[in-house]
C-alpha cells in the first residue's frame, strides 16, 4: 500500500481583529491507494476545513500556516498558484454537499463537463462529448445524451449529485475529497450514491476522504476512520477498531449518542455540554470539560500517540483494554 496523501501537522488559522483563531491544529493523516478514509466530527470540528486545506481552497482571512500536504510525496503547499490550478480537479477532485451550489445553474451539463475537461486537456468538442456521455453512463444516469442538454434545475437532487461525481471523476484523480455528499439526499437515494462511490473507488483504486457527521454512513463504507474534535484529530484507526473499541472518550460518547438497534426506548448516553467555540478553547484537552475521565493532567494538551500499529489517540486516559 502506498500513501497517496500524507498530511503532516497541518495548521490552519483565521486572523480576525480580536485575535488569531487556530481552526486546525496538528492534523496528520494518510490515505492509501483505493482506501476510503472517513473523517467524522460535529459542526465546527474542522472536518470540512481539513478537506479545503488539503486542496488549498482556504480564502483569507483563513490561511494554512504550517505543516505539509504530500500528494505522492510532493508538497502541494509549496506549489505556485498556477501549478495548484493544474492539480485541482485533475489529481485532487472534490464533491460537495449541495450539488445545486456546485453546478452552475445557467449552464447546461454539457458545457460544464466540457469546461472541466478542457481546463486540463486540449480536447475537441466531439471527443469531450463522448467522454462526458461515458462518464454520465458510468454513474448510472439514464439517457446520458439527453441529460447533457439539461440544466441542473431540471435534475433531481440525486441526479445532480451523480453529475457532480461524474465531473469529479472525469480526469481520474488520485484523490477525491467528498464533503458530506449524501447529507442532503433521501435514504434510498443516499444508498444509491454510496453504492456508486464505493464501486468506483474500488474499481479504479482512487483514494477517498469521506467527510461526514454521520458515523453510520462511514461505518458502512470506510476502511479507516479519523474522529475530529475542536480542530484536532482525537482518534484515528481501522473502522472496526474505532467503532467497536473506541479509545478516546469523545468517540465513545459519539457512538453512544447514535440511536441504534437495542437502545429502543432507553435513555441515550448523552455527552453533557457542547463543543467549545474555537475562540474560547479550554486550556489543554478541548474535550476535558465534557469528559467523565478528565483529571488534572488534562489541563495540558495530550499529543496524538500511537496505541498500536494502525491506531493513534490523543488522550491521557484512553479507554484501551477495558470492556466497553
Amino acid at each position: 500500500m502506498t500513501a497517496v496523501l500524507d498530511v503532516r501537522d497541518l495548521d490552519t488559522s483565521f486572523v480576525s481583529p480580536s485575535g488569531t483563531i487556530a481552526a486546525l491544529q496538528g492534523v496528520s493523516l494518510t490515505v492509501n491507494t483505493g482506501e476510503i478514509l472517513g473523517l467524522v466530527g460535529e459542526s465546527g470540528s474542522g472536518k470540512s476545513l481539513t478537506g479545503f486545506s488539503i486542496n488549498r481552497l482556504i480564502s483569507p482571512p483563513g490561511k494554512v500556516v504550517g505543516g505539509q500536504v504530500l500528494l505522492h510525496g510532493q508538497d502541494v503547499l509549496t506549489l505556485g498558484e498556477e501549478d495548484m490550478r493544474q492539480l485541482r480537479g485533475r489529481r485532487i477532485a472534490m464533491i460537495f454537499q449541495d450539488p445545486m451550489m456546485t453546478l452552475n445553474p445557467v449552464l447546461r451539463i454539457e458545457t460544464q463537463m466540457y469546461d472541466a475537461l478542457s481546463a486540463h486537456e486540449s480536447i475537441t468538442k466531439t471527443k469531450a462529448r463522448s467522454r462526458a456521455i461515458a462518464a454520465l453512463d458510468e454513474v448510472g444516469i439514464p439517457a446520458p445524451e439527453d441529460r447533457l442538454r439539461s440544466y441542473p434545475h431540471q435534475l433531481s437532487g440525486g441526479m445532480r449529485q451523480r453529475v457532480a461525481i461524474a465531473i469529479a471523476l472525469l480526469h481520474r484523480p488520485d484523490l477525491i475529497i467528498a464533503d458530506e455528499p449524501t447529507t442532503a439526499l433521501d435514504v434510498t437515494i443516499q444508498g444509491q450514491i454510496l453504492a456508486l462511490v464505493q464501486r468506483l473507488c474500488r474499481d479504479r483504486g482512487t483514494a477517498l476522504i469521506w467527510i461526514t457527521h454521520d458515523l453510520a454512513v462511514v461505518a458502512g463504507i470506510a476502511d479507516r476512520l479519523a474522529v475530529m474534535y475542536a480542530g484536532r484529530i482525537v482518534e484515528i484507526g481501522g473502522v472496526d477498531d474505532v467503532l467497536d473499541n473506541p479509545a478516546h472518550p469523545y468517540t465513545r460518547g459519539l457512538i453512544d449518542s447514535v440511536p441504534a438497534r437495542g437502545t429502543r426506548g432507553k435513555r441515550l448516553n448523552q455527552i453533557p455540554g457542547r463543543m467549545p467555540a474555537l475562540t474560547d478553547l479550554p486550556k489543554g484537552c478541548a474535550y476535558a470539560p465534557r469528559c467523565p475521565r478528565a483529571t488534572a493532567a488534562c489541563e495540558a494538551m495530550p499529543a496524538i500517540e500511537p496505541i498500536s500499529d494502525t491506531r493513534a489517540v490523543r488522550c491521557f486516559h484512553p479507554l484501551t483494554g477495558e470492556a466497553s
Binding site: 460535529e42 459542526s43 433531481s156 437532487g157 440525486g158 441526479m159 433521501d186 435514504v187 434510498t188 437515494i189 443516499q190 444508498g191 444509491q192 454510496l194 453504492a195 464505493q198 457527521h213 454521520d214 458515523l215 453510520a216 454512513v217 461505518a219 458502512g220 463504507i221 476502511d223 473502522v239 472496526d240 467503532l243 460518547g253 459519539l254 457512538i255 453512544d256 449518542s257 447514535v258 440511536p259 441504534a260 438497534r261 437502545t263 429502543r264 426506548g265 435513555r267 441515550l268 448516553n269 448523552q270 455527552i271 453533557p272 457542547r274 463543543m275
Partner: protein, 339 residues
C-alpha cells in the same frame, strides 16, 4: 383501546394548487392556459393517535409527512376528510397541540427575549396570571434544561441545541396534550441530538405527552416511537408497532428504506439500493405509487391502487402482494449485505 384515542384522522387529503386566481381560471376556461398542476400532498390518510404514545411518521422528501403534521397541528386545513380531537374544548381551555419545528434558527422570533418567547402564549391564553408568569417561565426553562438566568437574552445568543430547548419550552407553556415534532432533531449535531431525544422522553413521562414524531431519520424514529406510519408519495404504505416494522417490514418500500439505512453495526456494506428516483408528487405513477421502483411489481400494481388493509393485529400495509411475499425467509431481491 378506543377510549384512549385522543386524535383521529379519517380519510384526510390535502391538495395544493389547482384553482389559481380569477385571471388564470378565466384563461383556462377559454383554453388559453393549461390548468395549474395539482399536488396531492396527502391522499386519503387515516390513523388514530392514542394517548401517551409516540407515533413516528417516516418517509422521504415529498411523501407528505410534514403536510400531515401541519394538518394535525392545525396549521393547514385538510382538503378532504377530517381530523377529530383538534379543536380546543373551550375558548379558555389549554391548547391541545403544539408544534416543534426543524430549524431552531428561523422558528424563534429574533426580536424577542426568551421570557417573552416562552411567556407570551400562556399570558394571552390566561393559563397563568401576569404576576406568576415569571416563575412559570423560569420553571419551564429549568425543566427543558436552559438556565433560567438567561431569561432576558435573545435567541441569537444561544446555540442550536439550546434554541431547540427554548422551542420546546415555548410549546409546553400552553400545556398541550400533543406535540407535533417535525424533524425536530434533524438539524442538530449527534451529541446534541441525543440530549434533545432524552429531553423528549423525559418530558413525555413528566407531562404525559403524546407525540407525532415526524422524521426522515429511521434510527431516531426507531429509538423513540411506539408505532410507526411509513408514507410514500402522500399515502400510508405501512403502519404498525415500531419493533415489528423494523424487524419484519412487509411492504417492499419499507423494506428498501430500512435496508438502505446505514447503521453503526453494518461495516463494509455492499449497498443494493432500490432503483430509480422518487417520482414527483405532481404526477405520481398510477396504481401503486411505488410500482416503478418495486422489484416485485406485477401488472396489477400498475393499474390498481392497493388499499391499506389489516395484515396482522395492529398492523396494516398497502400492497397487493403481501400474501405472496410474506413467506418466511430470504427477501426476493438482493438486499444490502454486510461483511
Amino acid at each position: 383501546m378506543t377510549d384512549n384515542v385522543i386524535l383521529s384522522a379519517q380519510n384526510v387529503s390535502k391538495q395544493f394548487g389547482g384553482r389559481g386566481d380569477l385571471v388564470a381560471r378565466g384563461l383556462a376556461r377559454l383554453g388559453l392556459a393549461r390548468p395549474r398542476p395539482v399536488v396531492r400532498a396527502v391522499e386519503d390518510v387515516s390513523f388514530d393517535l392514542y394517548k401517551g404514545e409516540v407515533l413516528g411518521v417516516v418517509g422521504e422528501s415529498g411523501c407528505g409527512k410534514s403536510t400531515l403534521g401541519r394538518m394535525v397541528a392545525g396549521l393547514l386545513d385538510p382538503s378532504e376528510g377530517q381530523i377529530n380531537g383538534r379543536a380546543p374544548d373551550a375558548n379558555t381551555g389549554p391548547l391541545p397541540m403544539q408544534m416543534i419545528f426543524q430549524d431552531p434558527f428561523s422558528s424563534l422570533n429574533p426580536r424577542k427575549r426568551v421570557s417573552d418567547l416562552i411567556g407570551e402564549a400562556p399570558r394571552v391564553h390566561r393559563i397563568v396570571s401576569p404576576s406568576e408568569v415569571n416563575a412559570y417561565v423560569a420553571d419551564l426553562m429549568d425543566r427543558c434544561g436552559i438556565d433560567a438566568s438567561y431569561r432576558d437574552r435573545f435567541s441569537h445568543q444561544f446555540s442550536g441545541g439550546q434554541r431547540q430547548r427554548i422551542g420546546i419550552a415555548r410549546a409546553l407553556a400552553v400545556k398541550p396534550e400533543i406535540l407535533v415534532c417535525d424533524e425536530a432533531v434533524s438539524a442538530l449535531d449527534v451529541s446534541i441530538q441525543a440530549q434533545i431525544i432524552n429531553l423528549f422522553m423525559d418530558l413525555r413521562d413528566e407531562f404525559g405527552l403524546t407525540y407525532l414524531f415526524i422524521s426522515h431519520d429511521l434510527g431516531v424514529v426507531e429509538h423513540i416511537a411506539d408505532r410507526i406510519l411509513v408514507m410514500y408519495l402522500g399515502r400510508i404504505v405501512e403502519s404498525g408497532p415500531a419493533e415489528q416494522i423494523f424487524n419484519d417490514p412487509q411492504h417492499p418500500y419499507t423494506r428498501a428504506l430500512i435496508d438502505g439505512v446505514p447503521r453503526l453495526d453494518r461495516r463494509r456494506t455492499v449497498y443494493e439500493p432500490i432503483k430509480g428516483d422518487i417520482p414527483s408528487p405532481i404526477d405520481p405513477p398510477k396504481g401503486c405509487h411505488f410500482h416503478p421502483r418495486c422489484p416485485l411489481a406485477e401488472a396489477r400494481c400498475r393499474t390498481e391502487r392497493p388499499v391499506l388493509r389489516d395484515i396482522a393485529p395492529g398492523r396494516q400495509a398497502a400492497c397487493h402482494l403481501i400474501e405472496t411475499t410474506a413467506i418466511e425467509g430470504e427477501p426476493k431481491w438482493p438486499a444490502t449485505k454486510t461483511g
